[in-house]
C-alpha cells in the first residue's frame, strides 16, 4: 500500500441526497461499484445518471458498471484554505467525464492524463462518494 494512502482525504463526507432517479447509482456506491448510465437506443454512456439519454432523449436507459478507472481530464487544487483539496474531472474508461476530488496523493505531483482509480469514502448512511486516487 502506498505511503500516500490516506493523504489529503476530506475530514468528513456528507451523504448525498438520493432520489428515485438516482437511487440505483447511490445504492451501488455502498457496494463499492461505480455506475454510469447506458442508453439502449443510441448506445451512448452518460454521466450524471438520468432517466433520459441526454444525447438521443430516449428513456430506455440502464446502469452500466464501470471498472472505476480513468484519467485526469483537468484539476485544480484550492490552496487558500487550511485543508487544501483537489477538484478534478476524470474521464472514465467507459467514456463519460465526471467531477470528483483527487485523494491519497501529493497535490504537487498531479498531472493531466494521469491514470486514476475510484476510491470510495463511506458516508455512514449506506452510500459512498466516488473520489479518485492515482493508480
Amino acid at each position: 500500500m502506498s505511503e500516500l494512502n490516506g493523504m489529503n482525504r476530506p475530514s468528513k463526507v456528507r451523504a448525498p441526497r438520493v432520489n428515485d432517479e438516482t437511487k440505483g447509482f447511490w445504492d451501488a456506491t455502498g457496494e463499492g461499484k461505480l455506475l454510469v448510465k447506458h442508453c439502449n437506443s443510441c448506445g451512448e454512456n452518460h454521466f450524471y445518471p438520468r432517466s433520459f439519454c441526454p444525447f438521443c432523449f430516449s428513456d430506455d436507459t440502464e446502469y452500466l458498471e464501470t471498472r472505476g478507472r480513468g484519467t485526469i481530464y483537468t484539476y485544480s487544487v484550492m490552496r487558500r484554505t487550511k485543508e487544501p483539496w483537489a477538484i478534478a474531472y476524470v474521464t472514465l474508461d467507459e467514456g463519460p467525464t465526471m467531477m470528483t476530488n483527487l485523494i491519497d496523493c501529493d497535490f504537487d505531483k498531479l498531472e493531466i492524463g494521469q491514470a486514476v482509480k475510484v476510491a470510495f469514502i463511506d458516508t455512514g448512511e449506506g452510500t459512498a462518494v466516488p473520489f479518485f486516487a492515482p493508480v
Binding site: 432517479e21 451512448e44 441526454p54 481530464y73 483537468t74 478534478a88 474521464t91 467531477m99
Partner: protein, 390 residues
C-alpha cells in the same frame, strides 16, 4: 412588426400524473418535453430555444438544458408565477418572428404533493438541480471551477500564467483613470504571477473583485431615440447560448461564446475586425482568453498570445477592452457584472469614456457576458452596438 402570424404552436403535452411519487422534478420536465415533441413530430435536437420559470431547479434554464441535453441559442427564464408560461409563448413568438430561433420549448413541472408526503421540498426555487448530488461533495466553488478550465487550456494550448496575467495588467492600466475603481494601482505581469495562488493555476490577481453596486440600462424604440438629447447607441445584433457538461462529453477549453458570438456578428453584419472596443466578461483572466478565442478575435488556442504584451490596453494594443477597469479592477456588483459590460461599451460609443482610455472614432463595440461557471455550465450572451450612424 408584430408576432401576428409569425409563429405557430405545433405540439403540446399535459402530464397525466396528479401525484408524481417516484419522479424527480427535472425528470418531469423532460417527460413533458418529450410528450410535446412527439405530439409535434419533432425531435430533441430540433429545439434551439428553451423557456422555463422558477419551477426548474437551478440557475434559470442552465441545469435543465443540461439534463435534457439541449443545445439552445435562445432562452428566457422570466418568473412571474403562473403567468410565466403564457408570457413565454409571447417571448418565443417574438424570438421566432425576429428569426432568432425556430423551435422553442416551454416547460412547467413539479411535485408539491409528492414532496409534502416525503417531507422534502422542491417547490419553485427550493430544490437542488439534478447535478447537485454529483458535484456538491467535491466542493466546486467559483475559483476552482474556473481554475480547472484554465488548467486544461494551458495543457492543450500551452497558455501560460504570464499570458493570463496580461489580461489583469491591461485592466489595471485602465482602472487607474477610473475614480470609482476598487483597485487603481497599475500592476505588472510579475505582480500577478507572484500574488498568492488561490486555486491552481489562478492567482489572487487573476480573480475579479467582489463589490456592491449595480447598474441599469434603458432600451427604447427608434421614435423615442429620435426625441432624446443624449447620444444614443444603436443595437446591431445579439446572440446567446447555453453551454453545459453535455452528458459527460466534457470540454472546458471553450465557452458558450462559440455559439453566441457568430449569431451576434451575423445579425450585426460585422466581423471581429470591425470591433473597435470590447467589453469582455472578466470574472477571471481565463474567462477573457477563452471568450476572445470563441468570439473569433483570434484562433482557438491563440488567446494567450493575443492578450500578451498589452494588446488589450487602450492606445497601445489592437483590441482595447474593459476600459473602466472591468471586473478585475473596477467592480463586480453582487457577483454578476454583465450590466457593467454594456455600460462601458455605451460610454465608448458615446465618446464619453475617460479621455485617457477613450478609443478614437469608436463606431462599433461589443459587450459579452458569461454567467454560471466556465468549469461546468454557463450562459453566454453577446451584444454588438454601434453609434447612432452605424
Amino acid at each position: 412588426m408584430s408576432i401576428r402570424g409569425k409563429a405557430f404552436i405545433a405540439g403540446v403535452y399535459e402530464h397525466p400524473l396528479r401525484e408524481a411519487t417516484g419522479k424527480t422534478v427535472p425528470q418531469l420536465h423532460a417527460e413533458v418535453a418529450k410528450g410535446a415533441l412527439e405530439d409535434a413530430g419533432l425531435s430533441k435536437d430540433d429545439i434551439d430555444a428553451y423557456y422555463c420559470a422558477g419551477d426548474v431547479p437551478g440557475l434559470g434554464p442552465l441545469n435543465q438544458a443540461e439534463y435534457m441535453g439541449l443545445n439552445v441559442t435562445q432562452f428566457d427564464s422570466t418568473e412571474v408565477g403562473g403567468s410565466s408560461y403564457v408570457a413565454h409563448v409571447n417571448h418565443a413568438a417574438q424570438a421566432i418572428a425576429m428569426g432568432h430561433c425556430k423551435v422553442a420549448l416551454i416547460t412547467l413541472a413539479g411535485r408539491p404533493r409528492a414532496d409534502a408526503k416525503e417531507n422534502y421540498r422542491t417547490r419553485p426555487g427550493g430544490g437542488p438541480p439534478a447535478d447537485y448530488a454529483f458535484e456538491a461533495p467535491f466542493r466546486p466553488v467559483v475559483t476552482n471551477m474556473y481554475g480547472m478550465a484554465a488548467m486544461r487550456h494551458m495543457h492543450e494550448y500551452g497558455t501560460t500564467s504570464e499570458q493570463l496575467a496580461w489580461v489583469k495588467v491591461a485592466a489595471s492600466h485602465h482602472a487607474q483613470h477610473n475614480e470609482h475603481a476598487m483597485l487603481r494601482n497599475v500592476v505588472t505581469v510579475e505582480d500577478v504571477v507572484n500574488s498568492p495562488m488561490i486555486s491552481d493555476p489562478l492567482h489572487r490577481l487573476d480573480c475579479c473583485v467582489m463589490s456592491d453596486g449595480g447598474g441599469a440600462v434603458i432600451v427604447v424604440a427608434p421614435e423615442i431615440a429620435a426625441q432624446l438629447k443624449r447620444p444614443v447607441v444603436k443595437v446591431l445584433g445579439a446572440g446567446e447560448a447555453i453551454k453545459h457538461l453535455n452528458g459527460g462529453k466534457v470540454d472546458l477549453t471553450y465557452s458558450g461564446a462559440r455559439w453566441s458570438g457568430p449569431k451576434a456578428f451575423e445579425e450585426a453584419g460585422v466581423t471581429p475586425a470591425d470591433i473597435k472596443y470590447a467589453s469582455i466578461y472578466d470574472s477571471f483572466t481565463i474567462t477573457v482568453v477563452e471568450t476572445l478565442e470563441d468570439l473569433g478575435f483570434c484562433a482557438k488556442g491563440e488567446g494567450g498570445k493575443f492578450v500578451a504584451d498589452g494588446n488589450l490596453i487602450s492606445g497601445v494594443g489592437k483590441l482595447p477592452f474593459n476600459t473602466d477597469g472591468g471586473g478585475l479592477c473596477n467592480n463586480h456588483p453582487t457577483d454578476r457584472g454583465g450590466i457593467t459590460k454594456v455600460i462601458e461599451a455605451v460610454r465608448q460609443l458615446r465618446g464619453e469614456a475617460h479621455p485617457k482610455v477613450q478609443v478614437p472614432n469608436c463606431d462599433i463595440a461589443l459587450a459579452h457576458g458569461t454567467g454560471g461557471l466556465l468549469g461546468s455550465r454557463m450562459g453566454s450572451a453577446t451584444l454588438i452596438m454601434g453609434g447612432a450612424d452605424a
